[in-house]
Symmetry: C2
Amino acid sequence: MPNAAIDCVQFYPILCNNTKQIEVNTGRILQIYKKSTAALVLFPELAICGYIPQDLLFHPHFIDAIELHALDVVSKSGGQILCFGSVLRQNGKLYNVLIICQNGKILQICKKTHLPNNSVFSESRYFTPNTEDFIVNIFIENTKIAFAICEDIWHENFIKKIQNNNPHILCVANASPYNYAKQAERYNVVKSINIPTIYCNLVGAMDGICFDGASFASNGTTINQQAKIFEEQILPVNFATQKTSVQNTSIEEGIYKAMIFTTKDFFAKCGFTKAVLGLSGGADSALVLKIASDALGPKNVFCYGLKSKYTSSSSIEDALVLVQNISNKIHFEIIDIEPLYQPFVQNLGLEGLNLQNIQARVRGAVLMAKSAQHNALVLTTGNKSEIACGYCTIYGDMCGAFNPIKDLYKTQVFAMMQWLEIFPQNILTKPPSAELSENQKDSDNLPPYNILDPILYCLIELTMSVAETLEKITKKNAFALNFNQKFNVEDITKAQKLLRLSEYKRRQSAPGPCLSPSSFEPQNWRANV
Amino acid sequence: MPNAAIDCVQFYPILCNNTKQIEVNTGRILQIYKKSTAALVLFPELAICGYIPQDLLFHPHFIDAIELHALDVVSKSGGQILCFGSVLRQNGKLYNVLIICQNGKILQICKKTHLPNNSVFSESRYFTPNTEDFIVNIFIENTKIAFAICEDIWHENFIKKIQNNNPHILCVANASPYNYAKQAERYNVVKSINIPTIYCNLVGAMDGICFDGASFASNGTTINQQAKIFEEQILPVNFATQKTSVQNTSIEEGIYKAMIFTTKDFFAKCGFTKAVLGLSGGADSALVLKIASDALGPKNVFCYGLKSKYTSSSSIEDALVLVQNISNKIHFEIIDIEPLYQPFVQNLGLEGLNLQNIQARVRGAVLMAKSAQHNALVLTTGNKSEIACGYCTIYGDMCGAFNPIKDLYKTQVFAMMQWLEIFPQNILTKPPSAELSENQKDSDNLPPYNILDPILYCLIELTMSVAETLEKITKKNAFALNFNQKFNVEDITKAQKLLRLSEYKRRQSAPGPCLSPSSFEPQNWRANV
C-alpha cells in the first residue's frame, strides 16, 4: 500500500454571497491546513465559496474576490501540500478547479472535465469543461498522487484515463449532494476504479440541496475508513498503516440527520434561531416538531394548536401528549380560530371548498403573525404525497420559510416516526385527516397512501408514464414503500393528473431538504403549466 | 438576389406536457405546410413541442412520442421542402434539431451546435451539442440554402463557417425569448452575417419566458421584412422580388403586448378565463387591471376595493374613475376588511408591522376566496422595485397565480401608464403608498423610485457591486430609467441589502413575464439565502 499521510478535510464552508464570507472560508482553510501535520491536506470541490453561489458566479466582482483570496491562500502555503476547490478565470472562461500549492506557489491546477447538468446541477451555466487530455499528478516522495473532481469519476472514459496514468493514490474532491441511496453508489464508483482512493466530500447546504460529507477512503478493493455524516471532520488517511473501520449509517439515520442539518443550516443563514409551527395532532406536524426541537433546541420552538369546530378533542390530546414526550421546554398554546374565520364565512358567503381553504389561510396568517412576534421562521409541514397531489392550501398550510419533510412521502413520514420511537401510538395509527370539514379523511379524496406513494415514486423518481407505471410498478424499490401489491390504472391516472394540476402550488412552495433521488427541489425544472 | 419562395412560419405551438398535445402541434404543422405554395416551408426551433418542455425531456415516453409524431410529419411531406424544429435521440443522447424533409423522406438533419445556458436557458441540461464540423445545406434549383438554429448564429466562429460555406440564403430557426432590447440585437447579429437571411422565431410562452415572433428577413445588408409581434403569422419571403417594408415597434408597444400575451397564454394553459384582483387606487393595480381587461375581456375581470380605515377616500374615487375609464363591463365591488382583520388584531394582540401585514394577508385571503367563487385566477400586482426590495407581504399582496408587471420597475410602470393614456391623472401623480398605516408613503422606507430604480438596474440587470454601481451608474441606459443624477453609497448599500434579504419572498412569488434583459424568472438561479 502507498505510504503518504493525507488529511482529508470534510469541510463545511459558508455558502458565500459576499466578499467577507469568502475571506472567512479561506481563513478557516488556512487554519485547518496549519494545524495539520500531513504531507497533503485535501479540501473538497469549491471549498472556497461553498457549492454553489449560483448566478453570483456571473458577477465579475464576486469572481475577483474569489481569485484574490485563492491567491492569498496559495501565498501562505508552506512545506505541506495544500489542495482546495476554487474557480479559475482564463480567457474570459470560468473553470471549476482544484488548486494544488506548496511553499507559496501553485504546483498544479486540476480542471473539472465533466460538468453535471441533471438533477440539482447546472454547472454548464457557469463553467467551461476542461478539454486538456491529461490527469493532474504530484509526487510525495515516490508516491504518485492523481487528482479528480466529483462528476469526473462517474464517467468510464475518465476512469480509464486515471487507470492508464497509474497513480498510487487518487484524490477526489467532491461536492456530492446527499440522497438516501447515494453513499452505496459512491462506494460502487470508487471501488470500480481499483486504485487506492480518497473521496473528500463537502458538508453544507444550498436551500434544500445538502452535502453530507461521508468522506471515505478505499484501498482499491475495500472501503476502509469513513467520516461522519453532516459534520465537519478531518479524516487522516495513510493507506500503508490504516485498518478497516467503517460504521454503516442506516437510511433512517441519514434521512433524519439530513432534515436536522438542513433546518439548522437554513435558519442560521437567514439569521433566525426560533421556529413557529402549527401542531394539528397529526403525523406530519408531529415529525416536524421533533425535527425542529432537535435542530434548534426545544425552548426555541413555539407550537400552536389552531383549533376549529372540526378539530377533534383527541387531536388536541394527542398534540399535548406529543409535546410532553418530546420536551416540556416547547411552548404549546391552543388558539381558537372560530372567531377569526367565521367573519370571512359570513361576510363573503363562503361555502364548499372555500370553507376549508379559509380555515387553512387563517391558520397561515396566525402563524405568520406569531413568527413576527417571536422573531421566528414558520416551518411548514406538508409531506411529499400531499405536495405532489396539491392536497394542501396555497397561502394556508403551505405558509412557511422551510419544510423539513417536503421530500418524504406520507408512508415514509410514518416509517421515520416508527424509527424515532417517541411518538404517541394514536398519532401513528389514526387515519390521516386535514380536519377541515365534518369527519373528513384524506382517503375521501386520495387513494390510500400505501397505494398512492409507490405510484408517485414511479411517476416522479422514475419518470414513468401511466402505462409504464401500471406495467412495471412491482419491479422497483425505495425507502419504506411497498411495491408488492395490486395497482390499478384509475389510481395511476388520477395521481398523474393531480401531479400536473398542482404544479402551480409547488412553484410557490417553501424549500425543503432533498432526501430522495428526485425531490421537488429546485423547483423550476418541472414548471410546465 | 437569390430566387426562392420560402414561407417563414412564425408558429405558436402548444408547449406540450402530453402526447396528445404533440399530435395537435404536428397536425397544425402539416395543415400550414399543405396550404403553402412556397418551395420551402420553414418552422421555428422545437416547433413540435414548444420551447421548452423542461424535465419532461428526461421522460423516455415523452421523447418516444415526439419521435413518433416527427416521423409521421416526415412521411406526409410532399414535393415542397418542409423544415421544422424537433428533438432527435441518437446513441442515448438528445439533440436539438431541424428536420428537413421532402416526399416522405428526411433530406437533412441540422443539429444545434451552441447550447445556451445563461439567462432563462439551460439547454445543456437536456441536449448534447453538435460536434460535426459542417453546415447543413439543401438546394432549391440553383439556390443553395444553409440552416442554423438560434444560438448558433450568435457565435463568431459559427458565422465564419456559414460564410465559408457560401450559401445564397441562410434559414435560422429560433426560439428566441423577448426582452425590450432584443430585436435590435437580433438585427445586428443577422446583419453581421452579410448573407440573405430568414430569421424564423417562435411565438409562445413558458410561464414568464415569452417568444415574440418578430421574424424577419434581411437581404444581407438591410432588414426588409418583418412579421408582427406575439402573433402566429406566415411571412412569405422571396429575396428576388420583395421590397423593403418594415414597421418598427416601440419599446412600450412591445412591453405591453408581452404582458397581454403572457397573461392570456398563462390563463389558457391553466384552463381559466377569468381574473380577480385587488384595486387599491394606486398605479400598479391600475395597470394590471388594464392588462387583464385587454387580455381576458373586461367582463371577465372582477376587481375588489378592499378598504380599511387607512384607505383614503380619494383612493376609492380614483379606483372608480379608473374602472369607468377602462370599461363599465368590469365588475368592481368595495369590501370593508375592518370586520375581517380586527379580530386578529384583538385576539392575537398584533402591533407594529404585524398590523400592516395582517391587512395584506386578509386581503389575500379575500381575493383567493373570490377567485374560487368566480372560478378565476388571482392576478398579483407587485412591481419589480417592490419585489426586489421585499416591500410586499408574502401570503398577502403577493397572493396570486400570475403577475403581469413583475418585471417593471415602478418608474417603468408609470412610463407604461403615460403611454397608454387612459389613467386618471391623480393615479399618475399621487405619491405611492401601501395605505397600511396612517399617512404611510413608500418613500418612508425606500429611496425615491427615480433613484432606487436605476440603482436596482445596475445591481440586477448589470450584475454590478455596490462600488461599481456608485462609480459607473451614469454610463448606463434602460427603458424609462434616468441615470443622469446623483446617487449615494447609502442608497446603493440599502438597495443591495434589501435585494439579498428578500430573496426568500421571491422564491415563493407568482411567475410573471420576462420583459427586461434580466428578470426574476426563472427564480432558482438567484436563490442563495
